[in-house]
């Protein structure tokens, strides 16, 4: 197990190095000048040079790359030309927001997706199954941006049940910052009112973000359940008098969950990098928005920072899933990693 983990960690480090190099090249190939954009449209050439020197952008590219990698090794992600803060500070502010949203989203997707997939499998070809399959296809086909705007119009504007955007109401101060995740911090501070408000604000974006993931979970779970329910040991258990609920909910589900777990793990990492559209529509200040505004300002250090964060998370998720798989499925433990 140890050897397996160490090998995977080594591979992950190599992949990250490749990621950094590729992103660096791509960011600097675009014909845009981050110093000019940060200095402002009215800046004269010497003013732009001032900014350029300040951020070390006047050095040749290979020198910049070497300096960047050196800084990375020391834990310094550089400074954003557009915001003036260090990328580390910006990420510390934005990442928890995305993490919170993605966690709520994933929770929703799992809590709804697994039972629905299960029920659809059990009641194959019933009306429930058909409805679930429509939901599943819509989740993958409907664009998040459009669905988000429509839901916002319906629930926020027409019905007034949920707020339009943001993490909290304008007049509400955020809870004392410990993790920067409002749901966690408000509970830690005992501010229940703030907690409910933050949760209410998270509902719509979480639903929109969860939809494609929900769709995948339903489909995979349904397919796996159907396969497992057809196996011999299930028939044997029923014959022995084990209750239907236990057979489906415990014995079959446990075996069907493996691919679903893998999917959940991978989607989790994927979601962290794919929140841009939802964050834009609902003004959720997370790393997706940060990455996009940095891209528009041709500011490559934050882009690299975000890429690294998302990349690390994705690879960690992969790692956890592989380890979990090995743990849950004894057949994999003895196989070569």
């Amino acid at each position: 197990m140890m050897r397996f983990l160490l090998t995977r960690l080594g591979l992950t480090a190599l992949m990250l190095a490749g990621l950094v190099a590729i992103t660096f090249v791509i960011s600097n190939v675009a014909p845009a000048d981050p110093a000019a954009l940060a200095a402002g449209p009215d800046a004269t050439r010497d003013m732009v040079e001032t900014v350029r020197k300040e951020y070390g952008l006047d050095r040749p590219l290979p020198v910049q790359f070497v300096r960047y990698v050196g800084d990375l090794a020391a834990g310094n992600l550089g400074r954003s030309v557009a915001t003036g803060h260090t990328v580390g500070e910006d990420l510390a502010r934005f990442f928890p927001a995305t993490f919170e949203l993605v966690t709520v989203s994933m929770t929703l997707a799992v809590l709804l997706g697994v039972p629905l997939g299960m029920l659809a499998a059990v009641r194959r070809n019933s009306w429930l199954d058909h409805v679930t399959r429509v939901v599943a296809v819509s989740g993958i086909a409907l664009p998040a941006f459009w669905a988000g705007l429509l839901l916002q119009l319906l629930f926020a504007v027409q019905l007034g049940w949920l707020p339009t955007s943001g993490r909290l109401e304008v007049g509400t101060p955020p809870p004392p910052a410990i993790t920067n995740m409002y749901l966690v911090d408000s509970l830690l501070a005992g501010q229940l009112g703030t907690f409910w408000e933050a949760l209410g604000h998270a509902v719509l974006p979480a639903i929109v973000l969860a939809f494609p993931c929900l769709a995948s979970i339903i489909r995979v779970n349904r397919a796996e359940m159907i396969e497992v329910l057809g196996s011999d040991y299930v028939l044997a258990a029923r014959a022995h008098g084990v209750s239907r609920a236990r057979v489906v909910g415990v014995l079959a589900l446990r075996n069907a969950m493996l691919p679903t777990l893998a999917l959940i793990g991978l989607r989790y990492g994927w979601m962290l990098g794919g929140t841009v559209l939802v964050e834009t529509v609902f003004d959720w200040p997370g790393i997706g928005l940060y990455a996009v505004s940095s891209a528009i300002a041709a500011d490559f250090k934050p882009i690299m920072g975000v890429t690294l964060v998302v990349g690390i998370n994705f690879m960690l998720a992969n790692l956890v899933v592989d380890a979990a798989y090995a743990r849950l499925d004894p057949r994999l433990r003895t196989a070569a990693p």
């Binding site: 014909p31 845009a32 000048d33 000019a36 954009l37 940060a38 200095a39 402002g40 449209p41 009215d42 800046a43 004269t44 010497d46 003013m47 001032t50 900014v51 557009a82 915001t83 003036g84 803060h85 934005f94 039972p115 029920l119 059990v122 705007l149 916002q152 119009l153 926020a156 504007v157 007034g160 049940w161 949920l162 707020p163 339009t164 955007s165 943001g166 993490r167 109401e169 304008v170 007049g171 101060p173 955020p174 409910w196 408000e197 209410g200 509902v203 008098g241 209750s243 239907r244 609920a245 834009t280 529509v281 003004d283 200040p285 928005l289 940060y290 505004s293 528009i296 300002a297 041709a298």
Partner: protein, 542 residues
């Protein structure tokens, strides 16, 4: 022991039903945040909520400015003078009066006696000197306005309430930039200095000002809350009970979401909506859409040094082929035609006689004088990705040039790419759609866009360079005699129009959408895009 299948199905059904009921109950419970009240209140005073899409990453008044940033800076800082009204005029603010020496190189400002920073420190001439020197030393943001005309050691403190600026040469435009040079508190800035950065890091997210508001809560990407300074040294123009408790600038990036928030009452005033949105909101009860002529110019810059557009007759052909009415219609009628290279509210603006109109016959006549008498050439029209008006102007261009057998290839690009490409004549497109907002009312700001120093700036995408006009511009900018200056700028406008470096388009109107209980809104075209002056505003609470 084995239970009846029907009972089990019944159990499942019950479980499902319970599950759904719980979900619905949860949603209902979460709608504890029902529709928001019309406006926030605090201690009996209303809080104004403003929304736009642009963040304010840097609040430091000597480092950066754009419409959202300056809106915040104007609220927490003061300058020696201030821009108000339409047509814009400069009124005394921190300085109660000023005079110019006979040789027009020395400006002496007399400060008011009661100005104070938020921490109680009196605002004196030393603070003014410190602020101007800081701006010049940092060499960012507003520095470009004065750095060619004023040295850091050209500022003298005569006494606590008098400060003198010794310019390097006469520069009548000086006073027109003074309202944008805010005064910071030297005591606070130096106390928070890191190394010798003059407090640059600290002032990014904090303020050291004297203005009518102070920062209460600062999240530059989401919500910025300002609270009113009850004992503001200049006082407030409205009765005390009507004064705002504060202002909140809430960032909502998507125009559709911003419009939704306005309609829902979550925000009181919104900007940067689409022309169609404004037209629709005008008809909604309880909402008003103030509509004002703007000072921003929208032109199609032509490449004066490369390609077919380098030929003056070719440019004139395009200028006469274009349908100028289409440009106004594309802005839904909310735009005024340009009658000169200068926008109308600019000082010394004239309606240039003989400017091009939509005349296909004339266009063909001009084209006949070029190498492409029968057309057969393709031009590239580049515009900012996502700006619908610019795209439609491109389509209008395509239609307009069809009779001349000239093709137009529309290219959408991010602004960064457009600016990068537009920096050199070889890489600039043939036609570039550009909005430019002048930063002051003095004609020098716009005239300099046609000076060779405009090379590399986004307004210089035409790469226009005429030695005679260049000389005129350099002369006019330091001309102390008003009558002479007026005539010089008139000649500059006529000459530029004759050279047709671009297709002069329109000045789009500036519009906001707000609830009818928002009062005290004062418009000044010299403010950028959605920028609003919060000081005179209040809410009529019924």
């Amino acid at each position: 022991m084995t239970r009846d299948i029907a009972t089990q199905q019944g159990d499942m059904r019950m479980a499902r039903l319970t599950g759904w009921t719980m979900v619905l109950a949860a949603v209902a419970a979460l709608s504890v945040t029902g529709p928001a009240t019309a406006f926030e209140r605090e201690n009996g005073h209303a809080v104004l909520v403003f929304s736009g899409g642009q963040a304010v990453p840097v609040l430091d008044p000597h480092v950066r400015y754009d419409w959202s940033t300056r809106m915040m800076q104007q609220s927490v800082y003061d300058a020696l003078a201030k821009y108000v009204d339409n047509p814009p005029r400069v009124i005394p603010w921190l300085a109660q009066s000023w005079d110019v020496s006979p040789d027009n190189t020395q400006w002496t400002f007399h400060l008011v006696a009661n100005a104070r920073f938020h921490d109680g420190t009196p605002l004196d001439a030393a603070a003014v000197k410190f602020s101007y020197q800081r701006a010049l030393k940092l060499n960012k943001g507003v520095a470009w306005m004065l750095k060619d005309h004023l040295d850091a050691d050209g500022i003298d403190v005569i006494d606590a309430r008098t400060v003198r600026f010794r310019l390097k040469h006469p520069y009548p435009a000086f006073i027109s930039f003074v309202p944008w040079w805010y005064i910071v508190n030297p005591k606070q800035v130096l106390a928070h200095q890191e190394g010798d950065d003059l407090g640059e890091k600290w002032l990014t997210g904090a303020e050291a000002g004297s203005g009518p508001f102070r920062v209460k809560r600062w999240d530059p990407n989401a919500v910025m809350e300002l609270e009113a300074v009850a004992d503001y040294w200049k006082g407030w123009p409205m009765p005390t009970d009507k004064r705002l408790a504060g202002v909140i600038y809430r960032i909502i990036r998507e125009p559709a979401a911003r419009k939704a928030a306005l309609q829902r009452g979550e925000i009181d005033i919104a900007t940067e909506l689409t022309p169609d949105d404004y037209d629709q909101l005008k008809t909604v009860k309880g909402l008003v859409v103030p509509d004002y002529p703007g000072m921003t110019t929208f032109d199609v810059k032509m490449n004066n040094q490369h390609g077919p557009t380098a030929d003056l007759n070719f440019r004139k052909a395009l200028a006469y082929a274009f349908d100028y009415d289409a440009m106004i219609q594309i802005h839904n009628g909310a735009a005024a035609p340009l009658t000169s290279p200068f926008p109308t509210p600019l000082t010394y603006h004239i309606d240039v006689p003989g400017r091009p109109t939509h005349d296909v016959a004339k266009a063909k006549a001009f084209l006949a004088k070029t190498k492409w008498a029968n057309g057969g050439v393709e031009l590239e029209y580049i515009y900012v990705q996502g700006l619908e008006e610019e795209r439609r102007v491109g389509l209008a261009m395509l239609n307009a040039l069809q009779p001349l057998n000239i093709k137009v290839n529309l290219l959408a690009a991010p602004w960064t790419t457009m600016v990068a490409r537009g920096a050199k004549p070889e890489t600039t497109s043939d036609l570039c759609a550009v909005y430019v907002t002048p930063v002051s009312t003095d004609p020098d700001v716009v005239a300099m866009q046609y000076h060779p120093s405009a090379e590399g700036q986004f307004w210089g995408m035409h790469h226009y360079n005429d030695p005679k006009v260049t000389q005129l511009i350099e002369r006019a900018r330091i001309e102390p005699d008003e009558a002479k200056r007026r005539e010089e700028y008139a000649e500059i406008q006529r000459d530029i129009m004759a050279d047709q470096p671009e297709i002069f388009g329109v000045m789009p109107n500036r519009r906001w959408a707000m609830h009818d209980y928002v009062k005290g809104f004062v418009y000044s075209p010299v403010r950028l895009t959605g920028e609003v002056d919060f000081y005179p505003m209040w809410i009529d609470a019924k």
